[in-house]
């Protein structure tokens, strides 16, 4: 079975060097696990992140020769967000604006590779 504590421990490993929070969302955009500082409204940001993912995934499928979406990077004035898919869930990293895109992308890729196997087991059981 899934140990929620262990999961948020893993997620918290990404929260260094300007990365404020790490979220795990289900495909509807509800928050499954969260780790981070501050209590900014993570669930609202999570819902929007999931909406962004779904829209671009669909439009890519339709308009980019049936391409599969791997990773989304979003830059706002006061922060950056990275979104990727792990098993049937979405992983989302939120950071301050001075974290660079490369670091964000590398971290989310590492995190999703690490979580892919255990989370797929849960997804299939």
């Amino acid at each position: 079975m899934l140990k929620p504590r262990a999961l948020s421990d893993v997620l918290s490993q990404a929260n260094t060097g300007g990365i404020g929070s790490t979220l795990l969302l289900n495909s509807e955009g509800s928050l499954l696990a969260f780790s981070g500082f501050g209590d900014k409204d993570a669930s609202a940001a999570g819902a929007i992140a999931s909406n962004i993912w779904t829209s671009f995934q669909k439009s890519g499928q339709l308009s980019l020769d049936d391409s599969k979406l791997d990773c989304v990077l979003v830059e706002c004035k006061l922060g950056k967000i990275a979104i990727t898919k792990v098993a049937n869930l979405l992983l989302c990293l939120c950071s301050s604006e001075n974290v660079s895109f490369g670091m964000l992308k590398t971290k989310i890729t590492a995190m999703s590779t690490y979580l892919e196997e255990p989370l797929s087991q849960i997804a299939s059981s």
């Binding site: 671009f56 980019l64 391409s67 004035k77």
Partner: protein, 152 residues
């Protein structure tokens, strides 16, 4: 003017390997100018695809992190770099393995072009608004609001 602009965009596009298309649209994804090579999927340069960024950049601005400035998508075969250059949107469509950093640097090379186009676009909007006001002198603000949603 358009030809000059197109050749400039083509020249900029050639500076990045595997960059297939550059498009400048209004915020609804209506193409103002575009250049593309044969590797770019036709469907990726239509409004249906380009308008998605217009909607998503508005949504992303509501995440509590200030206004959205760009969204980069990595697909398994392509990548898109889309920049919100209010009132315009700038779209790049490239191969998955193209240099994303170089594409981002192109934004500076295109800054002047974007500024010129947005001047024209704002001017047209003003002229249209004026024409509207002349045609419908009794037009109230509600109608005006509805219309201005479509004309900047």
């Amino acid at each position: 003017m358009t030809e000059d602009l197109k050749s400039y965009l083509n020249k900029q596009m050639a500076t990045v390997d595997n960059l297939h298309a550059i498009a400048i649209t209004d915020r609804d994804g209506v193409v103002i100018i575009k250049v593309a090579n044969q590797m770019a999927p036709d469907t990726a340069l239509r409004q249906a695809f380009l308008s998605v960024f217009g909607i998503m950049t508005e949504q992303a601005s509501k995440m509590g992190m200030g206004n959205n400035s760009k969204i980069i998508n990595f697909y398994d075969r392509f990548q898109t770099v889309q920049i919100n250059a209010h009132p315009l949107l700038l779209h790049f469509i490239a191969d998955r393995d193209a240099n994303t950093g170089l594409i981002l640097e192109l934004e500076h090379a295109l800054a002047d072009v974007l500024q010129d186009i947005s001047k024209v676009v704002t001017m047209i909007a003003q002229v249209r608004r004026q024409a509207d006001a002349d045609l419908f002198p009794g037009d109230n603000t509600i109608n005006h609001c509805i219309r201005s949603r479509f004309i900047y």
